[in-house]
């Protein structure tokens, strides 16, 4: 394993806690959530608010759908050599009524996933640079955590 310090792949998009959250915004007038953050205009056609508050989004949700990447994506994706396929999840957040994409944690393939299953947000490396390990949010089946923490 690398001894390099870790740094967020995208600054300010998620908290760095043990129990991480995505950081979004919420319209002060109508309650619409935004991820990535939006603080200039509200896209609800019935709302012309310009006031937004930064909020932590729910860190658990249900699996809306899933797939994987069997081929190396083009840049700016930084692939490990040799390229290792990874699963991708679309997770529905209940309170926010929105679906957020992300990679699935290493070691969990599509065969372990099923639409509707509970998922939670975790942090994992995305790629390494010369200076640090870039970390990002990933989705993980809840049952896996429960048994580990059991």
């Amino acid at each position: 394993m690398s001894n390099k310090p870790s740094a967020p792949a995208i600054e300010g998009w998620f908290t760095l806690d043990e129990q991480p959250h995505l950081i979004g915004t919420r319209c002060n007038a109508c309650g619409t959530y935004y991820f990535p953050k939006q603080d200039q205009f509200c896209r609800n056609p019935g709302c012309d608010s310009t006031e937004f508050s930064e909020v932590k989004l729910s860190r658990t949700g249900t699996l809306w759908s899933y797939t994987n990447a069997c081929y190396k994506p083009p840049a700016p994706f930084v692939a490990a050599e040799p390229f290792e396929p990874y699963a991708i999840a679309a997770v529905q957040l209940e309170a926010e009524q929105m679906v957020v994409l992300g990679q699935v944690v290493e070691g969990t393939g599509v065969e372990a996933l099923k639409v509707g299953m509970p998922m939670e947000l975790v942090l994992e490396p995305l790629h390494e640079t010369d200076d640090d390990v870039k970390i990002t949010w990933k989705w993980q089946p809840m049952s896996a955590t429960a048994s580990e923490e059991g």
Partner: protein
């Protein structure tokens, strides 16, 4: 009907990976459409082009580029860019011009030359660009198609065999279409043997990008009657509506959907909204449709479109496929042209190519892939950034 226009001619440059300048494809398609209509180029008083953003400045002003290539003759020009719906928006501009009394005969044309290899976003560190973000996180175009396909499997019980059957069906009719790029017939075994790209989709479930050009000659109904073509197929409706907030399906290139948390807001599928205005405008319903040309970016997406067009209840498109209802010779053939599976996508030409196919089908000129007695056809497509279209052609 006051809001209809006549389709006098249709033309296409065959789809392929020819590597020529896009203008060449557009001119070839336009000349074929003019010949088909029996209209001299000098009688066209409005040229409406679908723009391409991959071919430099001439592509941004495609209407003028094609008009110059065909020979400046003083026509007015328009260029429309609306991603995959560019051709439909160009057609809508021509219709508006004709219905407003501003011209009798218009040429609508779109063409594209696709670059080799991946269409990657600009480099650097640009988290404000959703396209950059999703590639950085490892989310490519097939990811989205695969998410939709997997949902069909887990929710409706669709199978890999169903998706393969779409490919086999489309390849069979495409093999009989001289304008298609891929004319090889495939078996379910061929599809199953192709590599998985994004589970559950394989290489043969996903469409390629192509070079191609398509064109239509359209006129007022009065003009068509005056030249003895009053029975020509008509454009009965064009829908180019945007989504309605909150869009509940995660769409390329976004990494999240809209939030439907606000009071009075529901999560809505854009695809299912698109044909509603078309049906309303044409004054017909899904039960009147004889055939459909839909945007099968993946095999599974063809099944989604069948339900979005209300040709089958939600979740039952695969049953319709299995019964042979979407095959040429079946109840409502879908993609009798061979679809994107056999053409590959040539963005600004594709929506027009769909209308070309309906035109030839409604005239009974499609030979071995002819849908017998076709009188009403509908198209559907969806592109990036809230662009999509649905066109109804009838006779």
């Amino acid at each position: 009907m006051s809001n209809e226009i006549a389709i006098l001619g249709a033309g296409m440059h065959p789809w392929g990976k020819w590597g020529h300048n896009f203008v060449q494809y557009g001119v070839a398609a336009a000349r074929e459409a003019l010949d088909d209509a029996g209209i001299p180029w000098k009688d066209v008083s409005f040229v409406s082009g679908g723009a391409t953003v991959r071919c430099g400045y001439p592509g941004y002003v495609a209407g003028a580029t094609f008009a110059q290539a065909l020979g400046w003759q003083g026509a007015e020009v328009n260029t429309s860019y609306a991603a995959c719906a560019s051709g439909s928006q160009a057609l809508a501009a021509a219709r508006n011009k004709i219905l407003a009394g501003g011209c009798d005969v218009a040429l609508v044309v779109g063409a594209d030359t696709t670059p080799k290899g991946f269409l990657a976003p600009a480099g650097g560190y640009r988290p404000e660009d959703p396209d950059w973000v999703r590639f950085y996180l490892g989310i490519t175009n097939p990811t989205y198609f695969a998410l939709y396909a997997r949902r069909r499997m887990d929710l409706y019980g669709d199978t890999l065999e169903d998706f393969a059957a779409v490919k086999v069906k489309n390849a069979l009719v495409g093999s009989k279409n001289p304008r298609a790029r891929y004319k090889k017939c495939f078996t379910a075994e061929d599809v199953a043997a192709s590599a998985i790209v994004a589970d559950p989709l394989r290489l043969m479930d996903i469409c390629a990008t192509s070079d191609g050009g398509a064109a239509l000659i359209v006129s007022s109904v009065e003009y068509a009657e005056r030249i003895g073509k009053g029975d020509a197929p008509r454009v009965a409706a064009i829908s180019t509506v945007t989504p309605t907030f909150a869009s509940g399906v995660v769409e390329m290139p976004d990494i999240a959907t809209d939030s439907a948390a606000a009071a009075g807001i529901d999560a809505i599928s854009y695809r299912s909204q698109l044909p509603l205005k078309a049906y309303e405008e044409a004054g017909i319903g899904p039960e009147d449709v004889d055939l459909a040309e839909v945007y099968d970016l993946s095999t599974a997406l063809e099944l989604d479109w069948i339900e979005d067009l209300q040709l089958a209840p939600r979740g039952e498109a695969a049953a319709m496929l299995r019964a042979g209802d979407t095959t040429v010779g079946g109840r409502t053939p879908v993609n009798a042209s061979g679809g994107l599976a056999c053409f590959g996508e040539a963005v600004p030409a594709q929506a027009l190519a769909q209308v070309c196919e309906l035109t030839w089908q409604l005239r009974g000129q499609c030979g071995e892939r002819q849908v017998e007695g076709a009188r009403v056809g509908i198209t559907a497509n969806q592109g990036l950034f809230g662009h999509g279209s649905s066109v109804i052609v009838k006779r």
